[in-house]
Amino acid sequence: MIDFSKPKPILMQEQLLDGIAKQIMRPISRKYDDAEVSHERPWEYINAIWQGMQMMGFSGLTGPDEGEKKDRDPQRPPIANQMLMHVIERLSYGDAGIYLSTPGGALGGAAVAAAGTKEQKRRFLARFNDGAPKWGAMAMTEPHAGSDTAAIRTRATLSEDGKEWILNGEKIFVTGGLMAAQDSDGFVVVWATVDPTLGRAGMKPFVVEANTPGMTVTKLEKKLGIRASDTAAINFADCRIPFDNVLGDPELATPDAIRNKASKQGFKGAMATFDATRPAVAASAIGIGNAALEFVEDWLAKQGVEIRYGAPYQQQSAIERDLIRMAGELKAAWLLTLKAAWLMDQGQPNTLEASMCKVKAGEAVTWVTQKAVEIMGPEGYSTEHLVEKWMRDAKINDIYEGTGQINRMIVARNILGYRSSELR
């Protein structure tokens, strides 16, 4: 039966995170937006959320882990991904830049969860449950290859004894890369090719533990928004990692194995990760949009401007039309996101839905936050309020985890039944 009632655990989580968003994140929003140069970490938030996560046995933003699945009552439908969307929405409603400092595996963890073996999930993900806060990150983009992920050049070669992979290459735009590679006992999932002649089939995700010799953070970007989160360039120079740190069965990752099986598992692994992370990015975008919409509504209400829902078109003011439309765009994006997460929870494919919600949310929130600045005029542009910051933060969601254009392409291929060679 079609149903939109939130299960109790989600409601409880949402309420708790709403408090953290308003009482802990908002007061330090501006501080860490300004702290880009010093790269100071938002410890006020990190400590608070880390404590909360440990109390609740909440495993961060990696998504459902094996333990969670085991403990689950088989009578009750799984809700882990829906829960995650609500968590991310609320934290991003607090502050999208600071949210990216939430301890956990982040995109790196998601890649392990999507492409790793059971043993790998245990080995790499257990660390996020206790001890000091740790972070994961994912390194895909290279200076010459962003959306064109199949064109990456970072090489993974087998050592002579076959016991290690040796990574060489340059990665950029690694979200949280500094935290994962250097400042905690986390890891970076690095996408590299085991043989460039194999194309996409040769692409594999490798887990590189923090502070592995040969992995160096070379630069931290200065950005339009999400400034509280570091965006790192990471260099790999003869960086050696264990053979079984390639996600999935390591025996199937060697060039010979790939050639024999003509397997495309590698690239599919990346795609499976996106099915989980794209809705997460959409949820983060929507959190920012909800913050902006709520702020503008309150700001207007204080000046005596009320939004009448249900007035006929010809009697609506321009502001009313704008606000109803903003609410509609956000809600549409949210329902698409929730559906993508629900499909995942049902164990059903969601590639199309994941890209649809990402397209919608990226575009809607970019527009909604720009509109919020516009409606508030000079007040919206002023750093006195956070609306201008939200506008800057929002834009990244139309870019990372696949630009709006790449995701439109994926939607188009899906609905038209085209392979990537037929529609490019």
């Binding site: 039966m1 079609i2 149903d3 939109f4 009632s5 939130k6 299960p7 439908p77 809700i79 829906q82 829902y309 249900g310 007035a311 006929p312 078109y313 010809q314 009697q315 109803i324 439309r325 609410a327 509609g328 765009e329 809600k331 549409a332 994006a333 329902l335 698409l336 929730l338 559906k339 629900w342 499909l343 649809m356 397209v359 919608k360 254009q405 439109r408 392409m409 939607v411 188009a412 291929r413 609905i415 038209l416 085209y418 037929e422 529609l423």
Partner: protein
């Protein structure tokens, strides 16, 4: 628990109606549009699905479990995908029945609901008024109380008419109830003295639909004709049902245009390959698909809130305005995908654009 899965029964009904919409309504729609008349045979077939009686509880002569807004929007989307004119015509009585189920007194339900099963019975809503400042909550049609009667005067437009001979055509008439100081609904037989049915109104779209202006000149009704009798009805709630119904039809119209454009783009070749393989076309189709899915989900959520008895005005308004805007956008993009062919009055998408334009301008047509 969150779920996007209709019940098996709902799915079966939606699939059956969608199949009918695509195999019967769609092929008949072009000639209906040209001749300004729905095809009688197709309508007769549609009656077999008994979309009205399926909503009416058994104790009142139907065979349903009661009205569900969610089931209603699934039906509305499916039928509108075939032909909006036909959907509005077929669902007009269902809207009145739904209002009776939701807000009618026991006596009214007993008196009226059983009639919907009769072939010679038609019912439709009269809400819209022909003035610039038309507002469903501040109507200019007035119901004045005089002793044991209501006296109604005013003018309504866009009232959907039967297209076959009927023995009785009742209206669910919305008017400003002077005593109550707000909009209320009244059940009026069009044969009553003082009711004058005008000539057909004509529009750029909905050409197969017979809709007219009706004037009410001191029409006298017994007090039992007021929906809900003494208690009256929650008009905002009825309007919300109308909003989600319209949003669902907009979704259906958009879906028809989108799907047509999508299959056309895969067949039509230019520069040696299907036009769908050009990004400019592929992106339009992707955006259309996202729009249709968005419209549908917003509609479902608002309908679900209505079924839960929650306050749903904000959701219903958002769903409606979103659907109004995107139905038009999707219909326009579909014409664009077909290029010159999309402009020719033969393809579904040309009619789709004219029909889609109706949603934002005819607020309240086929109310509920």
């Amino acid at each position: 628990m969150i779920s996007f899965q209709p019940t098996d029964e709902q799915q079966m009904m939606a699939d059956t109606l969608r199949d009918f919409a695509r195999s019967r309504l769609q092929p008949a729609a072009h000639s209906a549009d040209e001749q300004r008349r729905l095809d009688a045979d197709t309508l007769a077939t549609a009656d077999e699905f008994a979309v009205v009686a399926a909503n009416i509880p058994e104790e009142y002569g139907g065979f349903g479990d009661g009205y569900s807004a969610l089931t209603g929007v699934l039906i509305a989307e499916a039928l509108a995908e075939g032909d909006l004119s036909a959907a509005l015509h077929l669902l007009a009585p269902a809207g009145v029945a739904a209002a009776l189920i939701a807000a009618g007194s026991e006596a009214q339900k007993i008196a009226w609901l059983s009639r919907f099963a009769n072939e010679g019975y038609f019912a439709s809503s009269a809400l819209i008024e022909p003035q610039w400042n038309y507002d469903p909550l501040a109507l200019q049609t007035v119901a004045r109380r005089e002793g044991d009667e209501y006296v109604i005067s005013g003018t309504k437009s866009l009232v959907i008419m039967p297209q076959q001979d009927v023995e009785e055509h009742d209206l669910l008439l919305f008017a400003h109830d002077e005593a109550a100081g707000m909009t209320q609904a009244f059940i009026v037989d069009t044969a009553r003295e003082g009711v004058t049915i005008g000539t057909r109104e004509r529009g750029m779209g909905l050409r197969a639909l017979d809709y007219r202006r009706i004037t009410f000149n001191e029409v006298r009704l017994p007090i039992g004709a007021k929906l809900g009798e003494a208690a009256g009805c929650d008009v905002q709630r009825l309007l919300n049902h109308a909003r989600v119904g319209a949003a669902a039809m907009a979704t259906g119209v958009a879906r028809a245009s989108y799907e047509f454009a999508q299959s056309y783009a895969k067949e039509r070749e230019a520069f040696g390959k299907p036009v769908a393989q050009f990004q400019s076309i592929a992106f339009m189709l992707a955006e259309m698909r996202i729009a249709v899915e968005s419209m549908r989900l917003l509609t479902w959520e608002a309908a679900w809130q209505l079924d839960q008895g929650q306050e749903a005005t904000q959701s219903a308004v958002i769903a409606k305005q979103y659907a109004d805007e995107y139905a038009l956008q999707v219909a326009d993009r579909a014409v664009q995908v077909l290029g010159g062919h999309g402009y020719i009055r033969n393809y579904l998408v040309e009619r789709g654009l004219r029909d889609a334009r109706a949603f934002a301008v005819l607020q309240g047509i086929g109310a509920i």
